[in-house]
């Protein structure tokens, strides 16, 4: 799936994935130029992809969600840390909440599908609110970069306090998986959560 252009990019560019512990395998394709116009077909396609994905995640339709991910997916959620202005970093070196490949994600999904994943029995009520979507072209036609903001609302049981996660995301979408080249799959995602101390009891969710 890599053009010669991509190979050249891989030599020269750094991404959150390439700097993470387990993301060396991830595509290094990066954005080109400024935001695509909101009327651009590519933006419309990317936006729709994200909205459709949000519905799958709300419904915990994780098998269907897994099909939206490429085989070389890198799914990264760094741990944010508070550092002095000018420190040059704001994520915890060598640590993340998620630093996943397709195998580890598939295990997480498989666990939810057992009848003994107690943390989600009874299931949480989830709502992934999606906004601030903007799309960028890349050096090849096969890829788009999409940025978005997401706010996950999660409620469990009847009287427990609800919890939230606010995060920004940068996604790399790749054309496919249909034989005619239609549709898009997620090849790389970086989730920049807006808290250093999470206020959710666990991350038995996806963002």
């Amino acid at each position: 799936m890599s053009s010669s252009r991509e190979n050249r990019e891989q030599v020269t560019t750094q991404t959150h994935s390439s700097r993470s512990v387990l993301g060396a395998h991830a595509s290094r394709i990066q954005r080109l130029g400024s935001t695509l116009p909101f009327g651009d077909e590519r933006h419309l396609a990317a936006h729709q992809w994200l909205v459709d994905e949000a519905y799958l995640l709300d419904a915990q339709a994780y098998e269907a969600w897994l099909d939206l991910l490429t085989e070389d997916i890198h799914y990264l959620m760094p741990v944010r840390v508070t550092t002095a202005l000018g420190a040059g970093f704001d994520t915890s070196p060598g640590m993340a909440h998620f630093d996943e490949d397709k195998y580890s994600l598939s295990r997480r999904v498989a666990r939810f599908l057992t009848e003994h994943a107690w943390t989600e029995d009874p299931p949480s009520r989830l709502r992934h609110h999606l906004s601030n979507v903007r799309t960028f072209a890349t050096p090849d036609e096969e890829h788009l970069i999409v940025e978005s903001a997401t706010m996950l609302f999660r409620n469990r049981g009847d009287v427990r306090e609800s919890s939230f996660i606010s995060a920004g995301r940068e996604d790399l979408l790749r054309r496919g998986p249909m034989p005619d080249g239609s549709g898009w799959q997620l090849a790389r995602r970086t989730i920049m959560v807006d808290e250093s101390v999470m206020r959710m009891q666990n991350l038995a969710i996806f963002l």
């Binding site: 512990v21 387990l22 959620m77 741990v79 840390v81 508070t82 550092t83 002095a84 000018g86 420190a87 040059g88 915890s92 070196p93 060598g94 640590m95 993340a96 909440h97 998620f98 630093d99 996943e100 195998y103 580890s104 295990r107 997480r108 498989a110 666990r111 057992t114 003994h116 994943a117 107690w118 943390t119 427990r160 306090e161 250093s196 101390v197 999470m198 206020r199 959710m200 009891q201 666990n202 991350l203 038995a204």
Partner: protein
């Protein structure tokens, strides 16, 4: 305050008043009588490897800057400006030679000494009005480390850390001394859960009984090959000094075969063989027990497990260190670190980290189910019915206190302390017995410290501080070989 002696008596006979897991008065006592004197873990030396590196960590409400100064000494400064009490450092980590208070600009060297006091002459009349010389950020009353694990105690008269750990130090080596270089620690992931802090500490100390039920799903998906019900009870729990933990019984083999069975490569096994004592090797090699979870009183825990991290039969071991930081009677902040032998091959480190993320921490699949239980338990413990309930925590002993299964003999288990095969709650009782001992014993009020003046009622340490930092009265710090890298000063 309510007399808690009946509660403590119940706890000591293994009958737990359910409300201790969500009781404001109990929590107030815990703050005063446990966390103001026990040794509390704050950081590992590898987190502050270079001069000037610092992390900010708390002991309940008290924030400390844990830093390596320019001379390589490790220090813990109370994170409060000596002037009007502003929090001096508001970052979580970084590298700094100085800390400047944002309020009025007093500044402190990373060894704690005050170096900048704007308008000292104009505002105070110089040294005559405010004795700047020798003033330093308030040091943690006690600071010590073991295998690079840095602890502080708010009690200036605390026992030495090594005595506090006691024979648990034997088991600590399995987690933190697999080679002469010890571990490096990464993280922590931090998150808050609506659960009482004691529940996690008890669970990690000895709850082998929950594994087959709570963690059914991770066995089903092939993540873990061990915790089948019948396997877990073949392991033993042990308690020694101020901590205890659980083990798995491994299949037949010698030391090398068993370390290899849980996924350690040969070169790491060679280093373990030279880093561990004959007895430490014997527990694994001859007795066949591999350490798993453990807790040190009051709120530090460890995990060692060996899941599958790819679609193959190979397993990969990981170590995690974690702290149950109490926020209130019904809320705990979990700090969960990944730890790995500093000399391990890079590929091992990466896969071990993957194993950690899949199993424990904020996203770990074991952890997800544990926390759900603890939150529900805490919630249920808040009401009046819970006050009537004495939970039976006597698993492993009969009504007359004799053991269901006798303790392992020295021939069967080479480690110190006492160990029992099978499901039991010996360790939960040990942990809560220490809890009861602390709650029973009143604390003496700490002496006040007066900043910049010769006040009445100052204690010896304050005077020493005021007179300057001569060697004998230097505040607690850890002697260190200065690091080779020059400090990069970024400010804080």
């Amino acid at each position: 305050m309510t007399d808690q002696s009946a509660v403590l008596a119940d706890v000591r006979r293994g009958m737990i008043p359910a409300h201790i897991y969500n009781d404001q008065e109990i929590f107030t006592l815990e703050k005063e009588r446990i966390f103001s004197r026990a040794w509390v873990f704050v950081a590992h030396e590898s987190e502050i490897a270079r001069a000037g590196d610092y992390v900010v960590r708390r002991v309940l409400d008290d924030s400390f800057i844990v830093t390596r100064d320019e001379a390589g000494e490790i220090r813990a400064h109370f994170n409060m400006c000596l002037h009007r009490g502003m929090q001096v450092c508001r970052a979580e980590m970084g590298n700094a030679s100085h800390f400047r208070c944002p309020y009025h600009g007093w500044s402190y060297r990373n060894d704690g000494r005050i170096v900048g006091l704007p308008f000292h002459q104009d505002a105070y009349g110089g040294e005559a009005g405010f004795k700047r010389k020798g003033q330093r950020l308030l040091p943690a009353p006690n600071l010590d480390s073991h295998n690079g694990m840095i602890f502080i105690s708010l009690d200036p008269d605390a026992l030495p850390l090594r005595d506090f750990l006691g024979d648990f130090a034997f088991y600590l080596d399995y987690y933190t001394k697999q080679s002469p270089s010890g571990i490096e620690m990464r993280g922590p992931q931090r998150w808050r859960v609506k659960a009482n802090w004691k529940i996690g500490a008890e669970n990690f100390a000895g709850d082998m009984y929950h594994t087959p039920q709570t963690h059914t799903s991770v066995v089903e998906i092939g993540l873990f090959r061990e915790p089948k019900a019948e396997k877990r009870k073949d392991g033993c729990t042990y308690w020694a000094g101020n901590g205890g933990g659980t083990t798995y019984k491994l299949p037949d083999g010698d030391l090398e075969e068993r370390l290899s069975y849980v996924g350690y490569p040969q070169e790491m096994i060679e280093r373990m063989k030279t880093s561990w004592s004959a007895e430490q090797c014997r527990v694994i090699g001859q007795d066949g027990f591999m350490i798993s979870a453990a807790s040190v009183f009051p709120n530090l825990s460890f995990v060692h497990n060996w899941p599958r991290v790819a679609d193959s039969d190979d397993v990969l071991p990981f170590i995690s260190v974690r702290q149950w930081q109490p926020i209130s009677e019904n809320e705990t902040e979990i700090l969960s670190w990944f730890a790995v032998d500093a000399e391990a091959p890079e590929e091992f480190k990466a896969l071990s980290y993957k194993a950690y993320l899949m199993c424990f921490g904020s996203t770990g699949m074991f952890e997800q189910d544990d926390v759900e239980n603890w939150v529900s338990l805490t919630n249920t413990a808040a009401g009046s019915m819970a006050r009537r309930l004495r939970l039976n925590s006597r698993m492993g002993i009969l009504a007359d206190d004799t053991e269901v299964i006798p303790a392992l003999t020295a021939e069967q288990f080479a480690g110190p302390g006492s160990a029992h095969v099978g499901y039991s709650e010996y360790n939960q009782r040990e942990l809560l017995a220490r809890w009861a001992d602390h709650l029973e014993r009143p604390v003496t009020a700490a002496a006040a410290l007066h900043v910049g003046t010769t006040g009445v009622g100052e204690d010896r340490r304050a005077i020493a501080t005021r007179n300057g930092a001569d060697a004998s009265d230097d505040p607690p710090a850890l002697e260190h070989v200065p690091s080779e890298d020059a400090a990069e000063v970024t400010g804080a």
